[in-house]
Amino acid sequence: MESPRFLSRTDLLGLAVLALLLVVILPLSLDVFRLNLVAKYLTYAFVALGLVLCWGFGGILSLGQGVFFGLGGYCMAMYLKLEASSVENTKIQSTPGIPDFMDWNQITHIPWFWQPFHSLTLTVIAILVVPAVFAFLIGAAMFKRRVGGVYFAIITQAIAAIMTILIIGQQGYTGGINGITDLRTLKGWDIRPDHAKVVLYFVEVAFLFGCILLALFVRHSKLGRILVAMREKEDRVRFSGYSVANFKIFAFCLAAMFAAVGGAMFTLNVGFMSPSFVGIVPSIEMVIYTAVGGRLSIFGAVYGALLVNFAKTSLSESFPQLWLFGLGALFIAVVLIFPNGLAGIWRDYVQPLFAKLLDRRKPGPGHNGGTLGPVADGAPAE
């Protein structure tokens, strides 16, 4: 039995195709405005990637990923906002040197939990650690008590609701429903002009590839196989000597961290963060990106996030009524008709077609070599 390699041939092919698309084709063919839109869509790919690990492989459906996306995004936004709120920039306020929305809400001091965000290092740490710790607390409380399935989904959804209401309600500390806006510079480097947007796009793509590699590594490790095993027969895994709860917590925390990185990149690329990316509706929409891509497919997550968001932008621009019908139908279709999403369609329809074409062109034993590997590595984009 061949040992599973960290990067199989199909993985390398998947990485190459994705790199070609994101690094070469899209930047060359799109103007800065459109490229920035792609950057925005890709921030959701981080979330979708985490959901592949936690929902697709682990069977844990979180309807609260927007919370982690928001945590990462708000951490970044708080840093940028503090930098944008220098005394000089805010001298028309009644209290100069604090964020504008605080001033509007008669707050005169920067609250304690904003203080760490004066430092970029602490901000970067917070982007990763705060969501992870939060996910750990939720996960430990729930999974140690064997709460899973729909209960977990509903509780995470409730947490997303709480988070939104809290952010909107505490507008003096959070910017309220408008969110944290008017962000300008990162360490003095202006994030708003076109060339900065291009740079940020490539930075984001680099981070995305980092996360994809990490996800592939987890997926091909024994931990990945245990997640699959757990989804099927939780008791058997437990009685093989594993602490099921710990594995679920790990998957959930990792998904939370991916989402947070996506959120931070969102703030940088789009230039603001608001509660409309945190609540129930955005959180469940993030699940649909994963479902459309194929809940078991790491690469599918990226394509799912890109395609659904592309459809959303173009449809809701021209036919706003159609979009909700379309999105609703999409939810139903990925459950009823295409449970494996794009990756499933690729594997079941497109790939056999290619295989047929290839077979016709060069018959011989060479072709069979590829399909004999372990089943888990067989499918593309998996």
């Binding site: 039995m1 040992s3 599973p4 987890v218 490790s221 024994k222 931990l223 196989r225 245990i226 699959v228 095993a229 989804r231 099927e232 027969k233 008791d235 058997r236 895994v237 437990r238 009685f239 093989s240 000597g241 594993y242 602490s243 099921v244 710990n246 594995f247 790990f250 372990p374 089943v375 888990a376």
Partner: protein, 251 residues
């Protein structure tokens, strides 16, 4: 009370074990002892509490009262995975395997190494692991099916695979819940042969209805009835116990 500590030659000491579900006592003040390398069979009519006893020992169900000592450790206070790590293996009544994984991966997951989260992340498929998996696969007649997805196996082969998954754990106490149920005659014979080889050098607790099979392997038989011990001893003693005859043939 602490007989398990005082007489360390018992591998497993179950004392005063009781579990009640909303007042219904599925297992009632049950005590029995299993020695090192003993093959113990539990029999009894349906609903006697046999599976519940195994559930209690492996931690799937929490006891209402009583103690289960295994090598001096009180299992009632431990989590399932800790109980497994202490050396107790459990096979379920219906084959419980991972159908989305290959036979090889099924066995590999049961290999007792890399059981923590980061252990699993850094786990390597070393030659030692591969060798052990192949060795076990040979014992359970699945050597040529290692690369096959487990859902393609027959019912009997799935049972064997689960037995193999236990075998690779190398437990000191092996608990089997009706290992030959639902098997064809030829599969039954092969399974009996398999069980004979794997029960060496360890204690085994088996629930089984097949009397011929029981007679064949049991050192000692415990008869459960309504959550309590009706009779205990060699197969011969138990078979001639009037109480047992009453329960099995009385109605």
């Amino acid at each position: 009370m602490l007989i398990g500590h005082q007489q360390p030659d018992f591998l497993l000491a179950v004392e005063g074990l009781t579990v009640s579900f909303d007042g219904f006592k599925a297992v009632n003040d049950l005590s029995f002892y299993v020695e090192e390398n003993e093959i113990r069979v539990i029999i009894g009519p349906n609903g006697a509490g046999k599976t519940t006893v195994l559930d209690l020992i492996c931690g799937k169900t929490k006891a209402t009262a009583g103690a289960i000592h295994f090598r001096g450790k009180d299992l009632t206070k431990m989590k399932e995975n800790q109980i497994v790590q202490a050396g107790v293996g459990r096979k379920f009544q219906t084959p419980s395997i991972y159908e989305d994984l290959t036979v090889f991966e099924n066995l590999e997951i049961s290999y007792p190494q890399g059981r923590s989260v980061f252990g699993a992340l850094s786990f390597q498929r070393t030659p030692a692991v591969r060798e052990r998996v192949e060795e076990v696969a040979e014992a359970i007649f699945l050597k040529d099916k290692l690369g096959m997805s487990a859902d393609l196996l027959s019912h009997g082969q799935k049972q064997w695979l689960e037995i193999g998954m236990l075998l690779i754990q190398d437990p000191d106490l092996l608990m089997l819940d009706e290992p030959v149920a639902g098997m064809s005659v030829s599969e039954r014979i092969k399974t009996a042969e398999l069980l004979h080889t794997i029960i060496k050098d360890r204690s085994v607790l088996v629930i089984e209805h097949d009397m011929k099979f029981v007679e064949d392997i049991a050192h000692k038989v415990t008869v459960l009835h309504q959550g309590q011990i009706l009779s205990e001893g060699t197969m011969e003693t138990v078979k001639n116990d009037p109480k047992v005859i009453e329960v099995y043939l009385g109605h």
